[in-house]
Symmetry: D2
Subunit: 143 residues, 4 copies
Amino acid sequence: MPPRIHEQSVRVRYEETDRMGVVYYSNYFVYFEVGRTELMRSLGVAYRSLEDEGIHLPVSEASCRYLGSLHYDDLALVETWISGLGKARITFDYRISRLEGDRRAKVAEGSTTLACLSAEGRPRRFPETVRSLLREAMGQLGG
Amino acid sequence: MPPRIHEQSVRVRYEETDRMGVVYYSNYFVYFEVGRTELMRSLGVAYRSLEDEGIHLPVSEASCRYLGSLHYDDLALVETWISGLGKARITFDYRISRLEGDRRAKVAEGSTTLACLSAEGRPRRFPETVRSLLREAMGQLGG
Amino acid sequence: MPPRIHEQSVRVRYEETDRMGVVYYSNYFVYFEVGRTELMRSLGVAYRSLEDEGIHLPVSEASCRYLGSLHYDDLALVETWISGLGKARITFDYRISRLEGDRRAKVAEGSTTLACLSAEGRPRRFPETVRSLLREAMGQLGG
Amino acid sequence: MPPRIHEQSVRVRYEETDRMGVVYYSNYFVYFEVGRTELMRSLGVAYRSLEDEGIHLPVSEASCRYLGSLHYDDLALVETWISGLGKARITFDYRISRLEGDRRAKVAEGSTTLACLSAEGRPRRFPETVRSLLREAMGQLGG
């Protein structure tokens, strides 16, 4: 089964552009954050709730390839899916496109790996209910 | 006695510009933060140490007038001084200039008022030693 | 007639918080930008189109009073309206609230004044059609 | 010959932290920008001057591995060197450490590849004088 792809649109803010007239490269990683936050919310696993339970997911690796550009006021589509799930780590992949009517022009693709840590900063397993939902979204059988 | 004016230079980052080619307006408030952090450090009152002692200084008011602009790679000078000190609040004033050799072209001036709060978020007095240093920097007699 | 108040919701991003756990003070000015962009879009005066016509609206004054705080993942409501309109300047006022079900808890209010400049950076009048729409939104008779 | 490693210190700003209390992951890419800007300045190839000559260097790939964390007010060391140079692209590698007196604790390492584009956005060669300086810094014979 293919992974579940979550779609989230983001409007480019003036603040996110730079003097080249396009979105500054580090801001794509902020869009990635919006993408994974909303994917998890759609699964019923609000990231905020995880933190309230003492689970932190700091990023351990991040990468992006830039294939085009986004301008001020563009409507961007952030597609996010889970591409890897370990005992104490999870990898999200992303594709960002510029929406132009019905067309989508791909402008970037990337990946982030997050570690699952306890409040004390030690690696820990995902809670079983969470892990089950994440596996299902990844396209594997849940549980 | 006039207040002590602290001078701190800041190099404009590409990330801080916008598609108009100049520093985006909200980033001046980040420069203000750099200014007051370094003023306090110069007084021997590191803001970080205050937080470690359970004292938080959230901003309650902020304002800026923009008189010019800053471009990528400009060297800006942030001048900061204490313009007001209450029991549980402090006001910093700022002047930002673009450095061009020996000349300074003023590009912005502003002000921020910070509340002094306990770790629980309740207004509290500054510790006496801190208050004394702040008063002295403000140009009043210490103590 | 009262001014037209535009409402825009914004989801707080992790990136926008600071180590105090709340939205960093300069980011409220980014929310203000989102508010005025969307107010103008709702009037049929896309800010992006203005720039394409060689009209720039740099901020000349900005201020904010902070009355509460926003946390990660909060849904904030940005209310924006035009409070002043001159020959070559416009003032937007803002109110930001935290949405909690049906309730709105006000967390900030502010104001920004923007200059109307030509592509060469000189003050210029708003085009008459634009001015008419802005006046109407401000609650005055258009034209 | 090994590449020339440029060292640049950066003080962590409050704005750059997030509610986990550490520097938000996308901001490392801003530190990378500071690193490559200052490396190029030290070579006599100010990035700003390149743009003035119609040469743009947008990022085409970026990656970072996070090995530790940076807190508010930490002094970070950004080490930058050129690890690859093609006809119309250049790769910078980075290592970021937290400075603790004489010790350096590595917190991140990363890489960015930039395309060399004309003002019209087409790939172009670096000017020969620039290319020569970059090759030399990379540890190859200049020219």
